[in-house]
């Protein structure tokens, strides 16, 4: 206050009034965040190349073609500024490709990309407005539309020269045949599965990078992993003779990939810390419900979409109280 008092009377105090946020960083752009995510996805992509060879490259090309093509086409149709350079469509494409089975034909990837960007994002007004995670909308779309090409049996190709493809995915193996995949294979990633999900180590590496850069909020993956650990711990207490333990639940399937890369999408997740916890724990609970009870071997995609739908309500119920301020009134 003393500083202001020294200002000469004639000039009058200069007070700039502007809405928050008042602290900004020139480095914190959409493009930087998206490059961070792409960098974090790199270990998973490399493992996918190592395990699935040319299949991985092909799926990434299909999904990227679908996503980038749809983004260019639909933004032009809606007469919006050209938005390919911010990298968000590329991130959607890579995440989508890494969540596909290796053997899916080219049109599945392209259609999934179009559905992801068209139905998942542009129709709501582009980046920042989408309610649901675009990549998961695209994957759910083709999962229902091409059930035989995306289901558990489509992952297995007994005649393939790639060894991973000749076996069932770890989640299908435990659900249908009650065979437990060794923990080392789940960690390193030389198992069958969606392209990016096989290696727990690669997902953790990328995830830790995202959390360290604060591109992803730590509350969401923490909530997901906590919920899954608690529920699978309870299950293994009830069934002590089962060889599928808590660590298998945590490292198997798409859980780590989903927790670090899919659930943390800043647009379709809650904004408040408390809301992020609720969001993460909800995803974890739904994943375990779907894994243990539903007809599908894995439930990450459905769990993320289900929780995306309640994000507006979570945001509404977890408005934090400003320090010293009045309790916010609910509309």
């Amino acid at each position: 206050m003393t500083e202001e008092n020294k200002i000469p009377e004639a000039a009058g105090p200069v007070i700039h009034v502007s809405p928050g946020p008042h602290i900004h960083s020139a480095a914190l752009t959409t493009r930087r965040m998206m490059l961070d995510v792409l960098l974090a996805l790199l270990p998973a992509v490399l493992v996918a190349f190592w395990v699935f060879g040319g299949y991985a490259l092909a799926q990434i090309v299909y999904a990227l073609a679908g996503c980038l093509g749809a983004e260019a086409l639909f933004t032009a149709m809606r007469k919006k500024p050209f938005s390919l350079m911010d990298g968000s469509a590329a991130v959607t494409g890579v995440i989508l490709a890494l969540s596909m089975p290796a053997t899916a034909p080219w049109y599945v990837g392209v259609i999934a990309g179009f559905a992801a960007i068209g139905l998942g994002k542009v129709i709501f007004g582009g980046l920042g407005n989408n309610i649901f995670n675009p990549a998961m909308v695209g994957r759910a779309f083709v999962m229902i539309a091409f059930a035989t090409l995306m289901g558990a049996s489509a992952y297995v190709d007994p005649d393939s020269s790639i060894q991973a493809l000749t076996r069932a995915t770890p989640m299908t193996a435990i659900k249908m045949m009650h065979e437990t995949t060794p923990l080392s294979a789940l960690l390193i990633g030389n198992t069958n599965g969606s392209l990016g999900e096989t290696s727990a180590i690669a997902c953790i590496l990328g995830g830790v990078y995202l959390l360290w850069r604060r591109t992803a909020s730590w509350e969401i993956p923490a909530g997901v992993l906590l919920a899954v650990a608690v529920i699978s711990g309870a299950i293994s207490v009830l069934h002590p003779d089962s060889s599928w333990g808590v660590l298998h639940s945590l490292t198997g399937g798409a859980l780590l990939f989903g927790a670090f890369f899919i659930a943390t999408d800043p647009v379709s997740s809650p904004v408040t810390p408390k809301g992020k916890w609720i969001f993460g724990v909800g995803i974890g609970i739904f994943i375990m419900i779907l894994r243990t009870l539903s007809g599908y071997p894995e439930g990450v995609m459905f769990a993320v979409l289900l929780m995306n739908a309640v994000v507006p309500l979570i945001n509404r119920w977890t408005i934090p109280t400003p320090v010293g301020g009045p309790v916010p009134v609910r509309k």
């Binding site: 558990a152 007809g295 739908a309």
Partner: protein, 249 residues
């Protein structure tokens, strides 16, 4: 114990797994029409829950004692000759639903005038809400034409189904209202604003709810500790595509 397990499965199946709006796509009219604000949507959900419970209770009573083949009333009137009056199901149910909607309308107009004004035409339109008729018909399919009397639904099952179906409707419409309030700030194409984008969002939500395929059967196996035949839904099992994963293997 089996009875309780049966009730739990019926309740969760009606409310979430086979959600009336997002799995059967019934009751879309108020789902689109009254989902603009969360509080209105919640009021609508409560009204539908009330009507669906009352109507199902009444229609179960009528089906059980009058309409089904071998019902006590017709047996007594005809001196022991079983008559099947279930052709009258639709007319009777519509009467029952319309009269219970009248009750709700009078109650809401008297005690919640702002809500009454907000509902507008949608309150009397609960009469034609197919979710309610759907629940009544579903109960009747478990009452009339059931060979084994042990499998015939009692009033407990009927009440559970209808009440939780109403809760499921409330859940769906409140979630949709939350999303639609958010959509007010979004740059949706002009041609799709309102009902169009709502239907698209409902479609994506229905995709998400497809994940629950088979959860009712899994729940039943867990609760009863033995594989039991599918009580969930014979109609769904025949019309819906077979669960993609797992069960085909």
């Amino acid at each position: 114990m089996d009875y309780i397990a049966n009730l739990i499965v019926i309740a969760l199946s009606a409310a979430i797994i086979n959600n009336y709006v997002l799995h059967y796509f019934v009751g879309i009219c108020p789902f689109i029409g009254v989902s603009r604000r969360v509080d209105m949507a919640f009021g609508m959900g409560c009204a539908v829950t009330f009507v669906i419970t009352i109507a199902s209770l009444l229609s179960w009573t009528l089906t059980y004692f009058v309409l089904r083949q071998g019902a006590p009333l017709t047996m007594w009137l005809t001196g022991g000759k079983p008559i099947d009056l279930s052709v009258l199901n639709y007319i009777v149910y519509i009467f029952v639903i319309a009269s219970s909607v009248q009750f709700v309308e009078m109650y809401v107009r008297k005690f919640f005038p702002p809500l009454y004004k907000a509902f507008g035409v949608y309150l009397p339109l609960i009469t034609t809400n197919c979710a309610i008729l759907f629940a009544c018909l579903k109960i009747s399919s478990h009452v009339s034409g059931v060979e084994n009397p042990a499998q015939m639904w009692g009033v407990g099952q009927a009440l559970t189904l209808s009440f939780f179906a109403g809760l499921g409707f409330t859940l769906a419409i409140v979630i949709m209202a939350g999303i639609r309030e958010e959509l007010d700030h979004c740059d949706v194409p002009k041609s799709l604003r309102g009902a169009g984008i709502t239907l698209i969002v409902a479609g994506i939500m229905a995709l998400a709810f497809m994940g629950f395929t088979g959860v009712d059967r899994g729940l039943e196996n867990v609760l009863k500790k033995q594989p039991v035949e599918d009580t969930a839904d014979k109609q769904a099992a025949t019309t819906a595509p077979a669960p993609q994963d797992g069960q085909s293997k």
